[in-house]
């Protein structure tokens, strides 16, 4: 029963049918690993000014880490950076809640499919799986923006 709260159908669906998987052209690329379990992701971001044109990725890992990357792609591509950062911060807050946050309508509006990960936040060993791609995206974005800044100076 508890298991179903982690492995929501939405998550299993993203795992089996990932969105936007595969590496495509990007402004920056990062490789992140989860040293405790061997999950790995290579992720690229492509920006059109401050708009996210693409997030492409390749990796191996558990259903949670893979589904999370798929959800990220679905949520963030096409968004303005500021909004994407707000989504990322909200997702981080949810994942660090240790199961204490019951997502409300406002949160669901921001996170869409990503609210399905609320159950994962009860499993400390799996929170890192869910966050792997989001941390990679943050890192890649910082690199892409840093490069962009250096180019304009």
């Amino acid at each position: 029963m508890k298991l179903d709260s982690m492995y929501q159908d939405v998550i299993l669906d993203h795992y089996k049918h990932p969105h936007g998987r595969g590496l495509r052209d990007g402004d920056a690329e990062v490789h992140h690993v989860n040293p405790t379990c061997g999950d790995e992701i290579t992720l690229r971001v492509k920006y059109d000014g401050s708009r996210i044109e693409d997030v492409s990725y390749e990796g191996q890992g558990c259903s949670i880490s893979q589904a999370s990357a798929s959800v990220l792609n679905e949520l963030l591509v096409g968004k303005e950076l500021a909004e994407a950062q707000r989504i990322q911060a909200t997702f981080l807050e949810l994942m660090q809640s240790k199961g204490r946050i019951e997502p409300d309508d406002a949160m669901e509006e921001v996170l869409e499919d990503a609210v399905a990960f609320a159950g994962v936040s009860k499993y400390p060993a799996r929170v890192k799986c869910a966050l792997l791609s989001w941390m990679a995206w943050k890192d890649a974005t910082a690199q892409a923006m840093g490069d962009a800044e250096r180019k304009t100076v």
């Binding site: 298991l3 299993l12 379990c37 061997g38 790995e40 558990c62 880490s65 893979q66 499993y123």
Partner: protein, 418 residues
């Protein structure tokens, strides 16, 4: 209930381990199959540690009061017990550390600071294997980086054994130290000690054996192994965490320099220099893990009372049954030897393309504790082209019924992700 020849009376034995009675997740009985990570603790060990704190707690080797003398006698008594357990020629060859990692690091650092003929430098070579735990890889990488010595290793065969076909090229006249595991923590492989030791001795290299996965499971005789150093840890053999052992040949311990400096390891100290206590104290700077050593002594008593031969026979029977039953699970592939021959009771496997993390999660929901990941042996995963494995590891209290529970649990996993 499945009866196998050679099994211990687990029904009686399991009463010694209070934790095995735990019930998890709404009524699921704990099936503890993560013994290669840490073993459970019998009442006898828990009591010995409690009694130490309730009645004898003091610092060792430095008081004239009753408690200090009792604590010292208990701590040194544990050394005697460990020495007898591994058939050490002398109790002074038994160094207490905090774990096997510290024991292995200690040897690497002794050699890094040693004078000739032990000194590891840019002209020399270090040999390990591809199936080592990270704790027997990283200290040698560090030593190699700091001294310029070349790090070499034995590769693995497809069936999870050491590839010794090029042993004469790997271990050469330049080799100063050969460090390898007696039993693989990820694949369960029992390695051919004699062949490696013989070659090392031919070229005059020292041999360090990581016995972390052996000491809990089989008779360990450091003289029969003919190694120069043997390392293991207490918490995998019914003892507490925080206590490890390094056994070393006496003449080496006399010749080699200390690593950590501090109290207890000295003879005299002036502001300009110091002289050192004889081994083992030379290598035990600072207040040691006293209660933990006492607990390890109690664990050694416990294991000895059951008999290491009997434990090995029990685990062999369980392993034989487990590898057979596991191979009946569709899509399951064992990483490592697929028979119980020359193999310990740690069994790694992959299940179709279901990630081990997911396998472990669904098993946990049924009360079954396994380890998932790369088991601090990532090179093995790279070698076999897999991201991680699920590992079930058995011990003296494991039963055929627990193997059955695992197999049933894996069916459930397949259905869940099917």
């Amino acid at each position: 209930m499945t009866q196998l020849p050679g099994l211990l009376d687990t029904e009686a034995l399991r009463k010694d381990f209070p934790i095995l009675d735990r019930v998890l997740h709404d009524g699921k009985k704990l099936v503890y199959l993560d013994n290669a990570a840490t073993s459970q603790t019998p009442r006898q060990v828990i009591d010995a540690v409690s009694e130490y704190y309730e009645r004898h707690n003091a610092n060792v080797h430095r008081g004239v009061h009753v408690l200090a003398e009792e604590a010292t006698a208990l701590y040194e008594g544990a050394r005697d017990k460990v020495a007898a357990f591994i058939n050490a020629p002398s109790r002074d060859e038994v160094i207490f550390t905090k774990n096997a990692s510290e024991s292995l690091n200690l040897v690497a650092n002794m050699l890094g600071w040693a004078d000739e003929p032990y000194r590891v430098d840019r002209e020399t070579e270090i040999v390990i294997t591809e199936m080592e735990h990270h704790s027997n890889i990283v200290p040698w990488q560090l030593l190699s980086q700091r001294t310029g010595a070349k790090l070499k290793w034995f590769g693995l065969t497809d069936d999870g054994r050491l590839d010794l076909s090029n042993i004469d090229e790997i271990i050469t006249e330049k080799t100063k130290i050969v460090s390898f595991t007696l039993v693989s923590n990820i694949m369960g492989t029992v390695n051919p000690v004699e062949a490696i030791v013989r070659r090392a001795q031919d070229v005059g290299a020292l041999v360090l054996i990581d016995a972390s996965q052996a000491a809990p499971h089989m008779p360990l005789d450091v003289q029969a192994l003919q190694a120069d150093f043997v390392a293991f840890t207490g918490h995998k053999m019914c003892g507490p965490t925080g206590i490890g052992v390094l056994w070393g040949r006496q003449e080496l311990l006399e010749d080699l320099p200390p690593f950590l400096g501090g109290g207890e390891m000295i003879e005299t100290v002036s502001m300009s220099s110091s002289t050192y206590a004889p081994a083992p104290h030379k290598f035990e700077a600072g207040t040691p893990p006293i209660a933990q050593a006492v607990g390890l002594g109690a664990a050694v008593d416990y294991l000895t009372s059951i008999g290491m031969e009997n434990i090995a026979r029990h685990e062999h029977a369980i392993t034989e049954y487990a590898v057979r039953r596991l191979q009946e699970v569709p899509g399951l592939r064992i990483i490592g030897p697929v028979t119980a021959e020359d193999r310990g009771a740690a069994i790694s496997f992959v299940l179709g393309d279901i990630h081990p993390h997911d396998v472990g999660q669904v098993l946990d929901e049924q009360g079954i504790a396994v380890r998932v990941g790369h088991h601090c042996a990532r090179p093995v995963c790279l070698r076999y082209g897999i991201p991680a494995t699920t590992r079930a590891s058995f011990y003296l209290y494991s039963t055929p019924a627990e193997v059955d529970a695992l197999v049933e649990g894996l069916e459930h996993v397949r259905n869940f992700f099917g």
